[in-house]
């Protein structure tokens, strides 16, 4: 079935790779991306957004409930972080100051945060922990630190109230990710149309449309036919503090129907959270790994809630309008899935399959500028509808004041 030399080479390849894993040999060239992938997993499971929210949660949520036990002399800090937007292809770097006040809950009796080894946390959170140690003078009046009980985190993670709504997290920066590119053409239609080209075209049109609103900074992971890894796309979005991430793709599936579907970042291990519920009244007995898991869950919950709403808005607008111009449009709905490009992102994120190389007729339609413009317009409707429903521009959500007032009662 195969040549003896093939087999010998393969066995040697496996041996060398494992020698390296055992720390006894040198890495193969192909291992470089793997090492980066490992770092990625360590550094990005928590987002800036979720990290900020998590830190906010301990204080503001208890403050909101009015049930916190206030302690004195504890640390409250607000941080202004400088944002340096990494320039994407064809874009200039932009600097702006941001952003949300950060409340760091610490408790002298139960130094929860300091009990965590900072080096084991994501870099974004590490930075905050390290900064916080030296920022007593940046305390924000009125936001005292509170007792941190895992039950409170748990309650918040399970709350029906969207966390972003609770904290008035707004949308400023939208990153659009045209799928594939460069050496990776993505799906290829029967007529020779590449997914990478259509995705880029639609993405550019969507960018222009969103920019015309004048409220948002709109960035793109690529603006030309470049090969960009998924990791680089994620890093780019995170480095630019994306508030929303929209990845545009074209489905491939031979059929008369044109499948339209939208994926959003899915929940992780709910069973783990369920098992942590038993800790509700055992605040001094939780372990580091479990505490970290709760934090992770809250971050995921926020991202999950927002991603789902965004996906729903985009899918319903996209499909609702597409079916008027294409009778073969088929609604495959919204689905949760931990795609790599969604998993590593800090921001609420979706991956939308806006059309499908299902048949030559649909492919021909995709080749026309008019059809692509329509798709961009439908995506814009979906995104703007989500934003209008949930946020006001510049970081404050509609209803924020009422919620805070209610919280203070």
């Amino acid at each position: 079935m195969f040549k003896r030399s093939d087999k010998r080479d393969i066995l040697k390849g496996i041996y060398e790779e494992n020698l390296w894993v055992a720390g006894k040999g040198e890495s193969r060239k192909a291992e470089q991306p793997a090492a980066r992938s490992l770092d990625k997993r360590k550094l990005h499971p928590l987002s800036l957004l979720s990290a900020t929210s998590v830190i906010l949660i301990g204080g503001v949520f208890m403050f909101w409930l009015g049930s916190a036990t206030r302690t004195t002399g504890e640390l409250t800090a607000g941080m202004a972080s400088e944002r340096v937007a990494n320039a994407g292809p064809g874009q200039s770097a932009q600097v702006s100051t941001s952003r949300e006040a950060v409340l760091v809950p610490l408790n002298e009796q139960k130094p929860v945060v300091s009990a965590i080894d900072p080096t084991s946390l994501p870099k974004t959170l590490q930075k905050k922990l390290i900064d916080v140690d030296n920022l007593e003078d940046l305390a924000i009046p009125g936001l005292d630190a509170v007792d941190v009980d895992p039950a409170n985190y748990q309650a918040l993670a399970e709350s029906d109230v969207p966390i972003a709504e609770l904290f008035g997290l707004g949308v400023k920066t939208i990153v659009i990710d045209p799928g594939h590119g460069g050496k990776d053409p993505g799906a290829v239609g029967k007529l020779g149309v590449f997914e990478k080209d259509i995705a880029l075209e639609i993405a550019k049109r969507l960018r222009d449309r969103l920019l015309s609103h004048g409220h948002y900074e709109v960035l793109m992971t690529r603006e030309s036919d470049d090969t960009i890894s998924l990791n680089d796309r994620v890093e780019y979005a995170n480095a630019n503090h994306a508030d929303l991430f929209i990845s545009i793709h074209i489905n491939y599936f031979p059929s008369e129907q044109s499948f339209i579907e939208t994926y959003y970042f899915g929940p992780t291990n709910d069973a783990k959270v369920a098992s942590l519920a038993k800790l509700e009244n055992a605040d001094s007995h939780y372990e580091y790994g479990e505490f970290k898991d709760i934090i992770q869950k809250i971050g995921d919950t926020l991202k999950f809630q927002e991603s789902r709403q965004l996906a729903h808005s985009v899918q319903s607008n996209l499909y609702g309008r597409m079916k008027k111009i294409n009778k073969h449009a088929s609604d495959h709905g919204i689905k949760s899935a931990p795609f790599v490009v969604l998993l590593g992102l800090d921001a609420p994120s979706i991956l939308t399959e806006v059309s499908c190389f299902c048949n030559p007729a649909e492919e021909k339609r995709l080749k026309t500028a008019e059809y692509r413009e329509n798709i961009a317009a439908f995506l814009e409707k979906g995104i703007v509808s989500y934003l209008n429903k949930n946020t006001s521009v510049g970081g404050k959500r509609n209803g924020e004041k009422e919620k805070l007032a209610k919280a203070q009662q």
Partner: protein, 347 residues
């Protein structure tokens, strides 16, 4: 099996191939024994549970059946040992010890193991896997599951192996050389994804019915299909305490088909990466492995979808439960002795 304390030179050697899967783990040994267990590990919640269960740790179905008394871990969820959660590493360790016991491995034997893991695990945390396994074996090599399955079938050239597991679907191109990262691809649309979709669809259709993810998984394993199916798929689910018949025919089909677009698209992309001269050969040499390959009509459906672009042949491995473990054992047996010796753990 107890952990090994040291690695003295022993004449009595055993080579094993282990398939450490998200859903189930299997082992094939050079003594001819082989076995498998669902990838669940459970520890009694307290001393009362331990007394009732009579064991310090339970595995597979045994663990699932007693899950209310256990801290239950499925350590390879989504195909990776979760970072920073030592319980998962410990669970993998226990699982490997248990698998070795099942094939009659003795502490006095020198054990050389090739472990097949989901490709995503391989990329993400080789070291975590190594840490979890090395206490039970003397020399260890880790490979990706689809590669192990391909090796076991002698599919080393001009072939694509698609391993549809629980947490991930792994693709591996075989082109007569050791596959690199570029030759392997992992997507998250796999068995667990089908379970989630089916659960959601059933909840929408039967909001009053009382079922959980484990029941949904069992329904899938018993009735999964893509394409068409004869008759109705009916299952019994309690509603307000009474068992009622539920028709889930349509939901089952839609949930199982939900993984197809991603699988077809990725397969197309991998074929396109092949040397154009060999694309026709590869197209006729696509092999499905893993639990997902057992979904009725799956191979035919993928074959039809890909046939739009040229003659395609999609086959299913004969023995999906052991395909990767047997392949890993074949690797373990073919591996030269000096390679194993170089990898002997240091005391």
């Amino acid at each position: 099996m107890a952990k090994k304390k040291s690695s003295p030179k022993r004449s009595n050697k055993m080579r094993v191939g282990i398939d450490l899967g998200t859903s189930r783990s299997a082992i094939s040994a050079s003594n001819g024994a082989r076995d498998y267990v669902a990838s669940y590990v459970g520890w009694p919640k307290d001393f009362i549970s331990e007394k009732v269960l009579g064991k310090p740790v339970l595995f597979g179905k045994d663990a699932l059946d007693n899950r209310l008394s256990l801290e239950l871990v499925r350590p390879l969820e989504h195909g990776v040992i979760k970072e920073g959660i030592s319980r998962d590493e410990e669970a993998v360790q226990e699982l490997v010890g248990h698998l070795l016991e099942l094939v009659g491995a003795l502490e006095s034997q020198e054990i050389y193991a090739v472990v097949g893991v989901p490709a995503e695990s391989l990329r993400a945390n080789k070291l975590a896997i190594k840490r979890a396994v090395q206490d039970y074996v003397d020399s260890l090599m880790v490979v990706s599951e689809p590669f192990a399955a391909a090796y076991g079938r002698g599919l080393l050239n001009n072939a694509i192996v698609i391993d549809i597991g629980a947490g991930t679907t792994d693709f591996c191109i075989m082109h007569g050389a050791m596959p690199t990262e570029d030759d392997q691809r992992t997507i998250q649309t796999a068995g667990d994804y089908i379970d989630q979709q089916l659960y959601g669809m059933m909840k929408d259709k039967y909001p009053e019915s009382d079922f959980n993810m484990n029941m949904v998984r069992n329904f899938k394993e018993a009735h999964s299909y893509v394409g068409s199916v004869k008759g109705k798929i009916e299952v019994e689910i309690p509603v307000a305490g009474r068992m009622m018949i539920h028709d889930i025919t349509e939901e089952m089909g839609r949930a199982c088909e939900s993984v197809l677009p991603a699988i077809v698209e990725n397969t197309m992309e991998l074929i396109a990466k092949f040397d154009p001269e060999y694309q026709e050969i590869v197209r006729e040499n696509i092999v499905l492995a893993g639990g997902g390959s057992q979904i009725r009509g799956m191979a035919k459906y993928i074959e039809n979808a890909l046939s739009e672009d040229g003659a395609t042949k999609v086959s299913v491995v004969d023995d999906p439960v052991y395909a990767s473990a047997d392949g890993a054992l074949a690797l373990a047996q073919d591996m030269p002795e000096e390679y194993w010796e170089d990898l002997l753990k240091e005391d």
